[in-house]
Symmetry: C2
Subunit: 434 residues, 2 copies
Amino acid sequence: MTLNLKNLLNPKVKMSKMGEFQELQPIEGLELSAVSADLYGDGRDDLTLFYFKEGANFAAVYTTSKVTSACINWNLKIKRHFVKALMVNTKNANTFTGIKGAQGLKEIAQTLSKQLTLKSSQTPKGVSEVVKITDLLFASTGVIGEDFPHLKIKNRIPELVKKLKSEQNKFVWFKAASAIMTTDTRPKVAYEECKMGNKLIKISGIAKGSGMIAPNMATMLSFIFTDANIPSVFLKAILKKVTLTTFNSITVDSDMSTNDMVAIFSTGKAKNSKIYNVLDPKLQDFEKALHKLCLNLAKQIVVDGEGAKKFITIKVIGGRSASMAKNIGFSVANSPLFKTAIGGEDPNWGRIAMAVGKSGENIVANKMQITIGNHLVAEQGKVSKNYNEKDLKEYMKWDSIDVEVNLNLGNASHTVYTCDFTNDYIDINADYRN
Amino acid sequence: MTLNLKNLLNPKVKMSKMGEFQELQPIEGLELSAVSADLYGDGRDDLTLFYFKEGANFAAVYTTSKVTSACINWNLKIKRHFVKALMVNTKNANTFTGIKGAQGLKEIAQTLSKQLTLKSSQTPKGVSEVVKITDLLFASTGVIGEDFPHLKIKNRIPELVKKLKSEQNKFVWFKAASAIMTTDTRPKVAYEECKMGNKLIKISGIAKGSGMIAPNMATMLSFIFTDANIPSVFLKAILKKVTLTTFNSITVDSDMSTNDMVAIFSTGKAKNSKIYNVLDPKLQDFEKALHKLCLNLAKQIVVDGEGAKKFITIKVIGGRSASMAKNIGFSVANSPLFKTAIGGEDPNWGRIAMAVGKSGENIVANKMQITIGNHLVAEQGKVSKNYNEKDLKEYMKWDSIDVEVNLNLGNASHTVYTCDFTNDYIDINADYRN
């Protein structure tokens, strides 16, 4: 990883701004496994399976790109909201792979459904249950446009199914979170719990993503599992709301992926009382916990952004509307000139003013206040009276940089998270496919 | 400069795609000078004056940023379309400099008007004419938010005026074009001529710009001078039209400047017959010549883009509308992942598909054809049958890379010009202010 973990212990780094690493708890009703289909040619795990023996409610949000992976297209066709398994491969995005890519995925689904049906007949109870291909979800991530290696994947499915285990200690979770990585330098995991009625609810989530991060609606890959019993329709409403201020508020490089997907699965094993209404107070606690978990994962993705050495929080306040604040936040967060200046530890706040100006939003330059850390750097259309370059330069050395833009036009706000732009980003992406 | 000029002679580089270097011709009615106000502290020229003794019609297009320089604000207040002079300073953008910046500019204008009035009284004819501050235009470029060094500039005005010369050999033009540079590595000049009736019309133009290049309406600094006699209202119409497909079709880093300005001045000394109608055929030849000149300058800016090693032409055809084609062109041209792949000479066309997909335009992935050079790389939603990575890798070594995206949805097209994204861009911008 490029961001030094040791720095997280540096008192000058605001830990609360960074993603936290937590030990995940097992989710009853879930089994998982990860194997290598040798897609990278070096034996690393690249195939992961999440299996819900008794099924799970699910909800997902997907990329809004007009160029989408065969797996996204597959998932969008699944109209039911109760599934049996999710399989994830890395290395190959199965995007722009034509009919062959879609056909390959279908063969994989057929093999997986057979193997899972077989497995279900091998339970002590001997109750065989057919797992249909429409019970299955898929996610892929990796290079776009290369032939989808469906045979390599298909051949490993028996082993993948055989290795399924309900045991979920931290090593099992890390193995799964590692198997879905591409250019990520570390697995991303998060855990939260809450109460629903008198039942303790567990939520365990993993994510991957490092470049091509500029989500819209959904982002990268993140899979979240809970033992709560929540109908899919409510899961969907909560997930959409939560992603707005978490996964959809981060950017690494302004490039939106063709394979973005965030999915949540609820096994119902916590046996909380049934929920009939989206306004049920029990859901509020769950939403709060889920928001915390998603924000944690989203921040971990930014911290691990390709080449990132600094974590940047851009808070836009005083906007006329939340969308105005969000647009301005992203205009700053996606500005290469702003991001390179932060990388260079140069408090070049003029580039923040430039990026606000180019956003297309109707701001009033003289009203805007720009604050870096606790230092007010610009107001009334000019540099602040108390501007002290030396203090600011000292602050710029921190690993986590806070920028606040107060538009002083209204009460709306939005916070966006990003990272700096460094030579390492260029090096990683100049020849990514080799 | 980072793009090796020698490569322009390499047969594998399509010279026609690059900006051409031409010897500029003198424009009658124009005098110019450049001096150092020591704004950089190293004695380089940083102050340039263009003076029209008998005035000139002018038209200009400016940045659409909501954060604008004091000089842009000044120019926008000049409601007349007949001016006497344009003064340009580099190093300091006079943006976000508050009332002090605007006041400093006014003092400069007052000094300049006095000095030019004085000069006009020293002509052999002895006819003194008052140059008013509303006869003056200004342009600034450089760091945003630092105190505007108006005294340093003001003190050099007498010398600047004294050095005005109507002589305009190539050294004089190169001196002026060099004096307006910031991170540019070479001056940008272009020359065209045309006929209006039986009169030969000369057009000489210079430009600067290297980073913060993502124009909207106008871009960076470019000043164009002609001896044609064209009313300002027609100059404006032609300039707006021409910038759409030239200066407004280039991008280096997606960051729009607070100081962008393209201005054209017509001295009328060619004495072509008066033009009463924008449809006058004489104007068409002029527009054609002006377009050629602006495209040449725009390409020179891209070639000299910060850290650029490759010139990239992205032609989007088969669009439902020109705006659709333009949005998709810029979505590709501004994608850091696409630009780093080109820099790495990696024909990673999947990133072109990704960038088209994220544009927000309603494309049909299966209809899209992507061509790099003469190589069709993707069609029918997958890699092309004739795709040959080896040939393509060879092509990627060229200095000038052509990408064509055929949407196959309609007849509209747009071409966008950009450069690759390299470590040098990061290095230049990580600590630009020092």
